[in-house]
Symmetry: C2
């Protein structure tokens, strides 16, 4: 079918689509018994939950424009294709950390997948002050496995180049990242907004800070050139769904080959954004100090788990062309290789902080903001939280040499 | 036509091809008056020179196997496509530094181009002790222009991703580089050879040097991940043709997106290999000391020209998404940006040395050797020259911090 056969899904369209997928997709009963809800709250898509007597599915469809901006900002439908391609690429390696995919429709640009109706968006849980004991470890393992298995550490150079070919076509969403993360926040742009007038002077300072702009540009160039692994590309706490026992990664439509620190840093940044937002959600019953402490602990567990999982994979599953196995034969070789692995992870750590800082800044003074701050109704309080995050992120970017370990990051956070 | 219509060109095939291209390709006279010579001396291709009464052309055809190894090592014909794609990509930016391309034939995998019959291979000229006063500057400018214009400094992120898609298909030749440059030389392999028994113990030392293997692997990973610019991919002195006035780059069939230092370092390495080979070509009339001195001067001119040209382009022709122009508005911005540019070029310098060292080593103890040493008939003398180059390259790789400038490299060379 031609691309012209695309149409926005409505209830009738959904029923037609899902009837065609039976018995593979099992809802049970007659379509008249199905409950259909549109629940999309992101920036880009329609999301339906469909519940039948015997089962539920989630149907996500790309819209031909940026939902948050309206039809005046057109957006390639192909992002649904890349989302599906990412899920397929990482599925063998990340186990149940992604939803089960039942069907991808290349004409409707929609994916029929497992409904996660017992889960909520992690960001919402964290804002509500909830805790998810397994989340940090699960996410550290997830990023390590997804990145390692799509890198030159696990793949032959040919297989990785083939994957790079595929994802290098995801240009429309990469353009969004390049503009909204690494450029717009550092200049006047119609797409920016910030809590005004409270943050006006800090924002002006940031946009006049030459060292900061150079540092952000350096990270932007890394983003566009350092093709280390297949990235989710938008791994914030709104792309993670949780309940007490489980944790799933969704929405990889920004998928691209890039620096591992970009994915690692995205999630780290969003834990920190939530950390900075906590005082804004304090009540007379809960000052949220304990939640802040818990959040930082999770950030530490997250990085440490990422690091140890990546190192473990490197020593046990290095089937790629990077640091090829055939070279390491002696005990001395093993020692040198271990030191090289540590040095590599230290570079990922530095990248994590740099990208995290860029992402914190863009969520406060750029186009797309986060509910962590947006849900603080008192603008004075909100601005106070946001200013703390901005100053911290700026420090990460312009004084990277001061942050060689998580301890120094934690000290700076609470100082 | 199907790929099955490929056939190795012979005289009759050449005449048929060239007759079909008239009058675009002008040889003059009747085909019976054309002189046809097969002159290929590289590792991979047939190369014909065809001279008619009114003009000449060069016809280069890919063979379905590695010519240096025979039909037992099959090789993708597609490399002719990538050679042509590279020429097309850089042609608008490098002026007359590449041959004029008249025709590319996608069935025969052959290119009809300007005949450079008044030129010789630079490597041969340097071995003969000749000097080419414009060569170093021309090559520095060439690499700067080719790399800058295909990077995120000049291209939009979309255009660069599109180019990356194209060249990420050049997997067969990338496999050769990955194996022959970054892996095989550092282990026992049937494809390796070295001047034996003279170099036996040094080669054993190299293959047991854990720090060296880690450093070579680090460069190998950079090669596979750092997608900075479109590279020639095999820019040694055998890929450059010269005469007293002119200098042309040929044979870009290894073209891929990669680290700029890889191309910069390839040419640098081959100037150094020739430097180390000079004593092997000394005679009672010419000890080649002055030629050595001249060669190092050329290496210095080459790097300095590359650097200043790249910086000039960055300040005058930065139309890409890297360090985006819109961010730099104040005098303070200009100063910070200039410092960032210097730091970037310092990283390219370090990459140049690292890649140059890998390339020097592989040309002495790996599969494909260079005529600079191979033409030294006395094995004792040859081995002495080669050992000097190996020790120097090893030092560049395992003590990179000692080589922060060309002065320190030059001092180490002559110490």
């Amino acid at each position: 079918m031609a691309q012209g056969d695309y149409r926005m899904l409505d209830a009738a369209g959904l029923v037609g689509l899902l009837e065609g997928l039976a018995p593979h997709v099992r809802l049970g009963g007659a379509p008249s018994e199905w409950r259909i809800r549109e629940v999309g709250d992101g920036n880009l898509n329609l999301v339906f939950l469909v519940d039948g007597p015997e089962g539920s599915v989630c149907v996500k469809q790309a819209l031909p424009y940026v939902r948050a901006a309206g039809p005046s900002w057109p957006m390639s439908l192909e992002r649904a294709f890349f989302e599906n391609a990412y899920f397929r690429a990482v599925a063998p390696h990340v186990g149940a950390r992604i939803p089960q995919i039942f069907h991808y429709d290349p004409v409707l640009y929609c994916t029929v997948m497992e409904s996660l109706s017992s889960h909520i968006i992690l960001r919402q849980g964290l804002i509500a002050g909830r805790r998810y004991p397994q989340m940090a470890q699960a996410m550290g393992e997830y990023v390590a496995r997804a990145c390692f298995s799509t890198s030159n550490f696990a793949m032959s150079c040919e297989a990785k180049m083939e994957a790079e070919r595929l994802f290098a076509a995801n240009q429309a969403l990469t353009r969004i990242s390049v503009d909204l993360i690494f450029c717009d926040p550092y200049r006047q742009s119609e797409r920016n907004r910030h809590t005004a007038p409270q943050l006006d002077s800090l924002v002006s300072e940031i946009r006049a800070d030459s060292a900061l702009k150079v540092a952000a540009s350096r990270m932007g160039l890394k983003f566009m050139t350092q093709s280390e692994a297949l990235l989710h590309g938008d791994l914030h706490t709104g792309s993670v769904m949780v309940n007490a026992q489980d944790c799933r990664v969704i929405d990889p439509e920004f998928a691209l080959y890039g620096p591992i620190g970009f994915d690692v840093g995205a999630f780290f940044a969003n834990l920190l954004l939530n950390w900075f937002a906590q005082p804004g959600h304090a009540t007379s019953q809960d000052d949220r100090m304990a939640q802040q402490e818990w959040l930082w602990e999770q950030a530490v567990v997250y990085w440490n788990t990422f690091r140890s999982t990546f190192l473990q994979l490197w020593s046990q599953a290095a089937t790629g062309d990077a640091y090829p196995n055939v070279l390491w034969t002696s005990a001395q070789d093993s020692g040198a290789l271990q030191a090289a692995r540590d040095a590599y992870l230290q570079n990922v750590f530095a990248d994590m902080l740099g990208f995290a800082a860029c992402k914190m800044i863009r969520r406060i003074i750029g186009f797309a903001h986060v509910l962590d701050f947006e849900s603080i109704r008192d603008l004075q309080r909100r601005a106070h939280c946001e200013a703390g995050a901005l100053r911290f992120a700026r420090s990460l970017l312009i004084h990277p040499q001061q942050f060689a370990s998580l301890d120094t990051v934690g000290d700076a956070l609470t100082s």
